[in-house]
Amino acid sequence: MTPSTLALLSLFVPLGAAVLLGLLGPLRRTGRPAAFVSVAGALVALAGAVAILAGGDAALKPGAHLVWGWLSAGPATAVGIHVDGTSAWMLLVVTLVATCVQIYSLGYLHDEPPAALGRYFTYQSLFLFAMNTLVLAPNLLQAFLGWELVGLVSYLLIGFYFRKPSAAKAAVKAFWVTKFADLGFLIGLVTLYAKTGAFEWTAVTPVAGFVTLMLFFAVMGKSAQFPLHIWLPDAMEGPTPVSALLHAATMVAAGVFLIVRAEPLFAQAPMTREIMAYVGGFTALFAACIAVVQTDIKKVLAYSTCSQLGYMVTALGAGDTFAGYFHLSTHAFFKALLFLGAGSLIHAVHSNELKDMGGLFKKMPFSGAVFIIGAVALAGVPPFAGFFSKDLILEAVEHHHLYVPLAALAIAAFLTAFYMTRTVMMALFGAPSHAAEHAHEPGIDMKLPLGVLALLAIVAGFGGSWLAGLTGHEYAFHFTLVGGAGTAIGLLGIATGFWMFGPAQGGAPIKRGMAPVGVFIRYGLMDRLSTVAYGLMLAVGAIIAWIDRYVIDGVMNWSGWILLVGGRRLRGLQTGNVQDYVYAVALGIVVLGAWGILR
């Protein structure tokens, strides 16, 4: 089969599964059989993606472009698929992580009622379709449709535990914040179409600067860049496998993928790139600082995701698309691994809190080992996956003389290694908590995906040259000063973490001093930031309502009294304040009339 046929298979089989489960209520409510339908769909999609890449990159070099005319009038556009090295690889990453997560969910959500499980897997299949629609998009409009659809499915999946009010609130917040950012995408699209008459990835236009800036605004929402990152930590209220798939590996990376895909547009916009480098660098550092003081294992990983997305955005801002894309791939593997590993720990102790864990390594050597593999990969220890991509990013940023972001990334690298060591030490070693005493390893359905992802977290870094060839770039690992320094900083972070949270439990004064800061960041700063952003609109609405009620009505009454004294007699009608409404009409008419005469 040709790559495009295979890609269509990967796209539509999950959709078929979703539709089947969506329409056949009885099947969906059976729970596990419904889950198998969804998993089978994901496996087919994965097989399709593997087959495309196995076909060799000769077929992928020009890129298979298969489109059907969709809208002929209005903004004419097509839907279809575009299969080249970039989208084929992303398709593999997405379907692979999705398959792992779905299989893992079989074990993780074992205790859910069958109807809820069926609904969960329906959303999972729908998510895979939505994400693939975005990945394979031949133009920006289709990408936008997929973009919105993943947002919607994310809303449904976060709100999966709808009996938990905090999950429901988080779902609404996530949807609303990302949707707010999406208005940038919409305006970018409208501008692009109005100027070029198409929605092409490769458009050449003088307004590229503006369009890319708008697109980047949307990316800031979806890929959780400061200050639009506020939804991501809350989204952790969803089930942990969902966090692994959507909020670590794929959906949040969609923003980065969008920039990779729209490289020709961004290449025309040096200003946007510079802004990206600074926003990304700041996010990487800021989120890493917050991750250090989290006590909830999922929150640590959530802020870590923000931080790593900041790395990718900085790399793209430096103009090195491949570095960003490479880190996206390796991060997808090791962060999904970390989340699923954390899920395994959470599953064992029934708590997200690090203090409820401790000493779990002895009880759960497999889960503990894979979690450590994920952690060292994230910390950038050679030769694990994160080392290569992080090294390349630092090198790229240095190469483009972006020294401020480089410094931010370097400090973030230290903090990353530090907070991961802290998490590993607190969760896996030390004195076991009460809850940890009865912990035991999960079943094979959860171990298998962990094993696969752990393997990838170890070896994926060596695929860099191959991936570069596939996507039309050049890359070979070579030692540089900045890369070596980055690695050294990471190792220093691990050492510091080990000193403070390992058996020595050193640096007690620092910990004591930092404790109130941590409390402030966890409970004060974040809540305040998001409350301000969140409450702002409500406040504006209330003010407008107040103005409407007291000021406009008052002015209406007053001017109405002057203009229509005879209207007083209308008060005898006893129909409430209908006079006011006539006055409103009258005032409007007077204003318009005056405008008409005076202009």
Binding site: W70, L71, S72, A73, G74, P75, F144, L145, E148, L149, L152, G159, F162, P165, A168, A171, V172, F175, W176, K179, F180, D182, L183, L186, I187, L189, V190, T191, Y193, A194, M537, L538, V540, G541, A542, I544, A545, D548, I552, L570, L573, T575, G576, V578, D580, Y581, V582, A584, V585, A586, L587, G588, I589, L592, G593, W595, G596, I597, R599
Partner: protein, 481 residues
């Protein structure tokens, strides 16, 4: 029928339908009058089907009325709205106004007759007559609940109808005054003549007064104040009608007088229209946020949508006018569907508090999914029609150099998502009240009507091409004629 009356064929048949309803009503017992709803729906469906079979082009009354694609688009829209309203009203009206069913459908039908006559009118007098034929039955229908129910809702209903009537009368007066100034200064009653009239301050004044008067019908700010009160007090299935049909007719009238009649003087009226557009967008969206009554919330949401449509009108090009038609059709399908679901949930309660939607998805999952899709369409999320409608408007506005308005509109669309999500949040996440756990009762005809709306919303969202093409062709014919 003489060839001269060919363009009015469908309207003449509809007038016959009005009489038929009157006559049949006389022969029915009160208990069996519900069949009138089916008859009304049948008349509309029949005319809708017929509109594809007969040729209604040409002109009548010495060019005062012109047929063709533009009026045909509106006629189809009005027939569809009429049929859906009749289906959705049947059980509600039969239960609450058993003795006055005949008049309800008769007035509904004559109201639609006024609407179908309006878009083809090329003469100001005919335009106004059609406008009033539409407007008077609306006030009566808005007050329909006044006598039957003695539990205190009658006063609200009478008040709602009265507000519509009084404010409507004031603005009709203003429209008449404005158009008489226009006639006095230009010496023409036909739209083509207006286009050629030389500009003068009094003509401008007349133009603006007309704009003000007509803005009332569509509920543009600051002429919107009747909207929430009337929606709240009126029978909900009728609100479904009121929230879409008169708006479409109002836009037809505005387009006729401004885009066409005063098209050459766009520089004069466009700024005023843009000011109204901006106000309508801002006030509509922001006022919807604090509402806890779903009917009032949807009323302000409707005002906000009028703002997006006004945006298209203010641009004034053929493409933008076509986009306006598409928006109207998509908005009609979405809003009727939403109000019919609200009616099913609210039942006999005149005030549909948002709390009544708690646990809706667990009581009636199918119906709740329909509501969610309508809300997503109102919010402008892809794959449903509301998205395309907004996207098209934004693209046209951007092309017309109204970038700031696109920003504002897109920003306010996000605000809109907020209040639509409030309803979805109640329906999907809050648990149902203890005494409201049974499934929501929906009669089969309402079910059918909601189903048709759903198919339209999803169909136009998945495959908008034929609809937007049709709308663009209609607008092209309108501009060219």
């Amino acid at each position: 029928m003489s060839p001269d009356l060919q363009p009015l064929l469908l309207d003449a048949l509809l007038a016959g339908g009005v009489l038929l309803l009157l006559v049949v009503d006389l022969f029915l017992k009160d208990t069996s009058k519900a069949v009138l709803a089916d008859l009304t729906a049948l008349i509309f469906v029949g005319l809708f089907g017929l509109s594809f079979a007969v040729d209604t082009s040409g002109s009548a009354f010495d060019g005062a009325y012109v047929g063709g694609e533009w009026p045909l688009f509106f006629k189809r829209l009005f027939f569809a709205i009429g049929a859906l309203t009749a289906l959705g009203s049947r059980d509600f009206v039969a239960e609450r106004f058993m003795r006055r069913q005949g008049e309800f459908y008769m007035l509904l039908t004559s109201c639609v007759l006024g609407m179908t006559l309006l878009p083809g009118a090329q003469n100001l007098v005919l335009l106004l007559v059609a406008f009033e034929l539409m407007g008077l039955p609306l006030s009566m229908l808005a007050a329909w609940a006044k006598t039957e129910d003695t539990k205190g809702q009658d006063r609200d209903a009478a008040e709602g109808g009265m507000k519509l009537y009084v404010v409507g009368a004031a603005s009709t007066g203003v429209t008449f005054f404005g158009l008489s100034l226009v006639y006095g200064m230009s010496g023409h009653l036909d739209l083509a003549g207006l286009a050629a009239a030389p500009g003068s301050p009094l003509l401008t004044l007349g133009m603006f007064l007309t704009l003000a008067g007509m803005s009332f019908k569509i509920g543009a700010v600051p002429f919107h104040m009747w909207v929430p009160d009337t929606y709240q007090a009126s029978p909900t299935p009728f609100v479904a009608f009121l929230s879409v049909a008169p708006k479409a007719a109002g836009f037809a009238a505005l387009a006729a007088v401004f885009v066409k009649g005063f098209g050459s003087a766009a520089a004069v009226w466009a700024p005023a229209l843009l000011a109204i557009t901006t106000l309508t967008l801002v006030i509509g969206n922001l006022m919807a946020i604090p509402q806890s009554n779903v009917k009032r919330l949807l009323a302000f949401s409707g005002v906000a949508h009028i703002g997006y449509m006004l945006m298209a009108l203010a641009i004034g090009t053929g493409e933008a006018t076509g986009v306006l038609l598409f928006y109207l059709a998509g908005y009609a399908a979405t809003n009727i569907g939403a109000f019919l679901v609200v009616n099913a949930v609210g039942g006999r309660d005149a005030d549909v508090d948002i709390g009544l939607f708690n646990g809706f998805s667990r009581r009636s999952p199918g119906l709740a999914a329909c509501l969610l899709i309508f809300l997503l369409s109102l919010a402008g999320i892809p794959f449903v029609v509301g998205f395309w409608a907004k996207l098209y408007v934004f693209i046209e506005a951007w092309r017309a150099g109204l970038g700031w308005l696109v920003f504002l509109g897109a920003l306010l669309a996000v605000v809109g998502l907020w209040y639509y999500l409030q309803i979805a949040y109640a329906a999907y996440i809050r648990p149902p009240a203890a005494d409201r756990e049974q499934p929501v009762a929906v009669d089969p005809r309402t079910r059918l009507a909601i189903g048709v709306c759903l198919v339209a919303v999803i169909g136009m969202g998945a495959w908008p091409s034929p609809f937007i093409e049709n709308a663009l062709a209609a607008a092209k014919a309108f501009i060219a004629h």
